[in-house]
């Protein structure tokens, strides 16, 4: 075997070994491995064209990552600038019980010119530790266009100041442009900024990445559907599909030079080389996202000329017409009349003030109600403003609303214009009470008069004498008294009726007692008055005893036959009769009982004395034998037997 033959045989093994070594030992460019974290930086391609975007990805991976990892700052790069980013994504894997997490930070970078480009080490802070990636070197070359990693780049950015036709020969197939329809607008004149997409390949999706702030402009968006704006344009012999990505109507009210910053878009388009591949054309081919950016657009805003400016210039810039109409030609005093002043046209009325309707001495007027309608279509800004005045005529007769004038600046002519409306004559008759007639109003009627009466009401008059504000009635004692009466009255009535019922029985008993003792004493008096002739002492003293006993029996509501001396004493004690009176009663009863059997009649001195004693005792009983002492009411004398 010759040496060359051996070399031929071992060559495949050497190639395999070299490949295995490369696979085993090769790490991604810029890999840093420390403290359990792996930090790497990589780019989507190391060879790019001057119009290509390259994606820079910084990856942080490890068993477990801190919750917060700050987005790394990109260092100053050589021949590269940041297009967009950073976007962040995270992933988590669990394989055979081992977990790993990865956090990715991505930027889109754009080359500045052909030649060598370099990304210096990127410092990444993970969990309080600082890591630095390895530098990455790229080559920017026109020959590399469309060859960068994966599918070829479908097009290139439009270089500033160049048209799409100029780039066709260099392979650019997707461009974005910013255009203004008037680079020298007047202050207050609306102009249109349009972002367009020009493409020679299929575009799947366009998304704005960064839009300028447009400071110094009033901006209005005109909705545009890109698919509906497609048109075919040919520039320098090259055919392009043109789409409108966005349209804004801008108005600058301050003169001077202003620059509209570039707008960046992300475009998903088919790779250019695929367009000629029948298989790819049939199945859609490979798509690639590319970044494109418009150029900055300078606008020179011209000041409105001072010369020739009418005194009633309102600030409106554009071309307008004026209409003034009243909703009636006849009205009564006090009746609301609607006056509509309409300015309509193409331009900007946002800063325009209401056209003056002149001094109206014989009318009462309010601030007009403003309606505005703006239509943006085809890059034109059509606007209509209506000032609705409500006027109330104060004096009858022929009233003239003076003509209205409206001044504006016409940017096409570069001069001020004044439009005017004829005076309106109103026939005013004397109204009744100043009220508007029902059903007479049309566009603006009495309802609007009410709505506009956002004013203080009239002052109060001194039609009644002034006085101090009194404290509320609920604080007064009278109020509480009156409040309590209906609540307490039923209780008082009930108590009164109960009390009255009890008192009546007592009074009846006293009355009966007095009547009974009175009868007996009268009888005794008759016996005594007869001088003893035919009268027995027994009968006389029986009347005296009866006068006392029946008096007590009636008072106590018991039977007289049941009142023995013991029961009498118990009863007198229980009813609070004083002891001397008790002794006198008992002594008198014993005396009267004993005197019954005296042989002499009642006509003597004893009879007079006994009579007086009996009267005195009955009076004493009236005074003292009132209320029973609680708990000491004697047992019924009927049950206890008679007086012995």
């Amino acid at each position: 075997m010759s040496a060359s033959g051996r070399a031929m045989r071992i060559a495949p093994f050497l190639a395999v070994a070299a490949s295995a070594g490369a696979v085993l030992f090769a790490l991604p460019a810029g890999a840093v491995l420390a403290a359990g974290f792996e930090v790497t930086a990589s780019v989507s391609s190391n060879m790019i064209g001057p119009e290509d975007a390259v994606t820079l990805t910084v990856s942080v991976s490890g068993g477990s990552l801190p919750r917060q990892i700050a987005v790394p700052d990109l260092p100053a790069m050589i021949n590269l600038r940041q297009g967009s980013g950073a976007s962040t994504s995270s992933s988590f894997r669990w394989v055979n019980g081992e977990t790993s997490a990865t956090r990715l930070f991505s930027w889109a970078l754009l080359p500045l010119q052909e030649g060598r480009a370099e990304i210096p080490p990127i410092e990444v802070n993970v969990g309080g530790e600082s890591f630095r990636t390895e530098p990455i070197v790229l080559q920017v070359s026109a020959t590399a266009s469309g060859q960068s990693g994966g599918p070829p780049e479908p097009g290139r950015r439009s270089p500033p100041g160049s048209g799409p036709g100029q780039q066709a020969g260099r392979g650019a197939s997707v461009l974005v442009r910013a255009e203004v329809d008037n680079p020298h607008p007047w202050a207050g004149e609306p102009f249109v900024l349009t972002w367009k997409l020009l493409t020679r390949t299929s575009v799947a999706r366009v998304a704005p990445d960064r839009l300028p702030a447009m400071e110094g402009f009033l901006v209005e968006d005109e909705p545009v559907e890109p698919s509906e704006t497609r048109r075919r344009v040919v520039e320098n012999g090259v055919a392009w599909d043109e789409y409108v990505l966005g349209r804004k109507i801008l108005t600058a009210h301050q003169p001077g030079r202003r620059v509209i910053a570039p707008a960046a878009f992300r475009i998903t388009a088919r790779a250019e080389s695929d367009n000629w591949d029948p298989f790819n054309r049939l199945f859609g081919g490979s798509l690639r996202e590319i970044a494109r950016e418009t150029e900055a657009v300078a606008v020179d805003v011209r000041p409105l000329p001072a010369a020739g400016q009418p005194p009633e210039f309102s600030g409106a810039v554009g071309q307008f017409t004026l209409r003034v109409a009243a909703d009636r030609s006849e009205a009564a005093t006090g009746e609301a009349v609607g006056l509509r002043v309409t300015v309509e046209g193409e331009g900007d009325l946002r800063t325009a003030s209401a056209p003056a309707i002149g001094p109206l001495a014989d009318f009462r007027s309010w601030e007009p109600k403003l309606e505005e309608k703006t239509t943006l279509e085809g890059g034109k800004r059509r606007v209509r403003r209506i000032w609705s005045h409500v006027l109330v005529p104060l004096a009858p007769g022929r009233q003239e609303l003076p003509g209205v004038r409206f001044a504006y600046f016409d940017p096409k002519e570069g001069a001020y214009r004044v439009v005017s409306a004829q005076p309106i004559v109103l026939t005013v008759r004397r109204g009744e009470g100043g009220a508007a007639e029902p059903g007479g109003a049309v566009a603006v009627g009495q309802q609007e008069v009410r709505a506009m009466r956002q004013e203080l009401r009239a002052l109060k008059a001194a039609d009644t004498p002034l006085r101090s504000a009194s404290p509320p009635f609920y604080r007064s004692r009278w109020w509480w008294g009156l409040l309590a009466v209906p609540l307490l009255a039923p209780m008082a009535a009930f108590g009164w009726s109960a009390l009255r019922a009890g008192g009546a029985a007592e009074r009846n008993r006293r009355r009966r007692a007095r009547a009974a003792s009175g009868r007996r004493l009268k009888a005794a008096s008759l016996l005594l008055g007869s001088g003893g002739a035919g009268a027995s002492s027994d009968a006389f003293h029986d009347e005296l005893v009866g006068a006392i006993i029946e008096n007590l029996a009636e008072r106590w509501d018991v039977s007289p036959s049941g009142l023995s001396y013991e029961r009498l004493e118990e009863g007198l004690v229980a009813r609070g009769v004083a002891e001397p009176t008790r002794r006198r009663i008992l002594a008198a009863l014993e005396t009267f009982d004993g005197a019954r059997f005296a042989p002499a009649g009642p006509g003597g001195q004893d009879g007079q004395r006994h009579m007086a004693e009996a009267r005195s005792l009955v009076e004493a009983l009236d005074r003292e034998s009132g209320n029973p002492v609680a708990g000491k009411r004697p047992a019924s004398p009927r049950a206890a037997g008679g007086r012995g």
């Binding site: 956002q454 004013e455 203080l456 009401r457 009239a458 002052l459 109060k460 008059a461 001194a462 004498p465 002034l466 006085r467 101090s468 504000a469 009194s470 404290p471 509320p472 009635f473 609920y474 109020w479 009156l482 409040l483 009466v485 209906p486 609540l487 009255a489 039923p490």
Partner: protein
């Protein structure tokens, strides 16, 4: 001596009669202030109405007119203060309510209503009802309802005892009880608010509420003219106020006008 006393007495009577004739009547002062306001002399009108208030004529229409004059003079806080006072004195007056609504619409801070009643629907309904009527009308409603109810009960019992139909009396009595209860709820709410809280209005166009009673404390929030607040305490020229939203802070005493009610 006797002659001198008589001369002094007669002289005193004459001078007092003369003074009574020359001193302007309050109605005349009121009319003068109204005329000043109509003539656009709002400061003069305001002084006139303030003088009447100081003399004790603190009824609702004086506060109402003073509120109008102050608004015309550019004092929104003072205007709302006196409109609130007029509204508390005479809640049923439509002019006062309209003016108060108008003035509140001019205020920067929006009043979210009485604090503490935001979630209780029933209380809010009663509160709205109570704000329509003056306290005396509510008190009269309570008394009238109660007395009529008591009378109806008496008549119903009497007719029942006599074997006559008592149904109309019972129905009337129930209605009267209902009226008395509703009026009592409203009156209770009015009295509770009136007796428990001191309300006030922010006077200057803007005032900073501090964390404590002293200019060295940090600013917690800002309030603007016309905002109604509750006074929670006063200390050394500073007033602690609570907003309807629940925020609490200290304002200088002259930045706040109390709603003073009799």
């Amino acid at each position: 001596m006797r002659t001198a006393l008589v001369v002094l007495l007669v002289g005193g009577v004459i001078s007092s009669v003369a003074m009574a004739e020359t001193a302007p009547q309050p109605e005349e002062e009121f009319r003068r202030a109204v005329a000043a306001c109509d003539a656009g002399k709002y400061a003069e009108a305001g002084e006139g109405f303030r003088k009447l208030l100081a003399e004790g004529y603190d009824e609702a229409r004086v506060h109402y007119n003073l509120s109008c004059a102050l608004f015309r003079a550019g004092d929104l806080g003072g205007a709302i203060l006196h409109a609130e006072t007029a509204s508390s004195l005479d809640p049923g007056d439509l002019d006062t309510r309209a003016n108060l609504e108008f003035l509140r619409s001019r205020a920067v801070d929006r009043d979210s209503g009485p604090a503490g009643f935001s979630n209780e629907a029933v209380v809010r309904i009663v509160d709205r009802f109570a704000r329509l009527l003056p306290p005396n009308a509510l008190a009269a409603g309570v008394l009238g309802g109660e007395w009529i109810a008591a009378l109806c009960v008496f008549l119903a019992l009497r007719r029942s005892r006599r074997g006559q139909s008592a149904r109309p009396a019972w129905i009337t009595g129930a209605c009267a009880v209902l009226i008395a209860l509703v009026a009592a709820s409203g009156l209770g709410l009015v009295a509770w608010r009136r007796e428990s809280f001191q309300e006030a209005v922010v006077l200057p166009e803007k005032a900073d509420a501090l964390a404590g009673p002293g200019s060295g404390h940090p600013v917690l929030f800002s309030v603007h003219a016309g905002l109604k607040v509750r006074v929670e305490g006063v200390r050394e020229g500073w007033m602690q106020v609570r907003l309807p939203s629940g925020l609490s802070g200290w304002l200088q005493q002259d930045e706040v006008g109390k709603i003073v009610l009799p």
